[in-house]
């Protein structure tokens, strides 16, 4: 099997973004934000949504962690673990670009 591409690994310097086929959309019928992807609709919780919203291709993972730790008044190390695990999982599913 040829594998011309490589699995991306989250680092503090990655600047994640949403690929073209993934979109955050407010749903006025269900009064919630949905993440739309091919053949899938996700209903992220507040924290996941806050992470995904910051995936703008500019903010680094380090920056996202610092922002969220400030917003939630939480321990940066705990936030870091959560954010990195979340982004790795979404990257592995090709739903976030690193």
């Amino acid at each position: 099997m040829t594998a011309p591409r490589e699995r991306a690994i989250v680092s503090l310097r990655s600047a994640p973004s949403l690929p073209r086929h993934v979109r955050i959309q407010y749903d006025p019928v269900r009064l919630a934000f949905a993440v739309l992807a091919p053949e899938k609709v996700f209903w992220p919780n507040d924290i996941s949504l806050d992470i995904l919203r910051r995936c703008d291709g500019q903010s680094t993972v380090e920056r996202i962690i610092a922002d969220l730790a400030a917003d939630y008044d939480a321990d940066p190390q705990d936030v870091a673990d959560d954010v990195i695990a979340f982004l790795q999982e979404w990257s592995d599913k090709l739903l976030v670009k690193l």
């Binding site: 099997m1 040829t2 594998a3 699995r7 690929p19 073209r20 086929h21 749903d27 019928v29 090709l94």
Partner: protein, 376 residues
Amino acid sequence: MSKALLPPIGMLAELTHRCPLQCPYCSNPLELLKANLELDTRTWLHLFSQAADLGVLQVHLSGGEPTLRRDLEQLIAGLSARGVYTNLITAGVGIAEGRIEAFAEAGLDHLQLSFQGARPATTDRIGNHWGSHEKKLETARRARAAGLSLTINAPVHRHNIEEVPEFIDLALSLGAERLEIANVQYAGWALANRSLLMPDRAAVDRQADIVAAAQEQLAGIMTIDFVTPDYFAIYPKPCMGGWARDAFMVAPDGTVLPCHAAQTIPSLRFERFGDRSLAEIWTDSPAFNAFRGTEWMREPCRSCERREVDWGGCRCQALAIVGDAAATDPACIKSTAHTRMAALVDETRRSKTAGDDAFIYRRIGRDFDGSYNPRR
């Protein structure tokens, strides 16, 4: 119904039944609609807008071949203006210069391209269209160049199941984000051709191993979604996520249906958009309510702990094999007809010698009396 009715999330719009290919497993009905019965642009746009009001978040634009609609750009733009996610399901043959770029510009979110085979000869033979493989490769390249994300869809059956590793390579080489290995579902034309399409058990087992290994190896590189074959299963799939539960489809003439094969159930009457609004059909149509939820179920489904997992499986498969649309899907091991599925697999093995030319190729206006001989 025991629970409040939820709004639909997804909609499959079969814009046309016209198609340059003639796949013998096509999920369209045997009686294909001609172009003059298709809804016009305004009506589709009107329907899409009602779908968005109703809560639909994703629309799959399909067919037939949806790019044969000259107004496809307009339809995509209409959906996109309402924030609806658009997925174009195309065979990728004969798309005019500049149109893929126009789809992208109109706001298309994703493109799904089918390959009948991983080898050119297989693609051309299964779709009965010479040179189609080459055209599909070109479509994939153009889609990538237009910045679109790509799913490669591989409908799998006896004549290409050994090409699964090659499908994986093909999808990787085309830069696809996603590959769908979809074992053919035996409804529509696939049911008419079942004895020629059914793979054997050993090949199905090999395929499952290959896919599982590739899924692990390609994490973060390409997503592989695997639609397992019903005839080899223990439990059924939740057809369409459950009858009239979170998705529906619309035929080219505006008939609103719970699933592809729903029209094969003779006791049901389906309504057309225009005669009634989409919301009325979704909520009140007797055909939608016939198998919605769990109230309609009999044993063994009624008291089964999986009844809200698979919703009793596929009604059309129950009808086709058990002769009763309200029966438990025979794909389920608890169905008294479950062994009939295995028997059908074995029967087709015995008739394996039939040549490919024996396919009933999908064709509009084909003189087809609707009855089929599964043994051919």
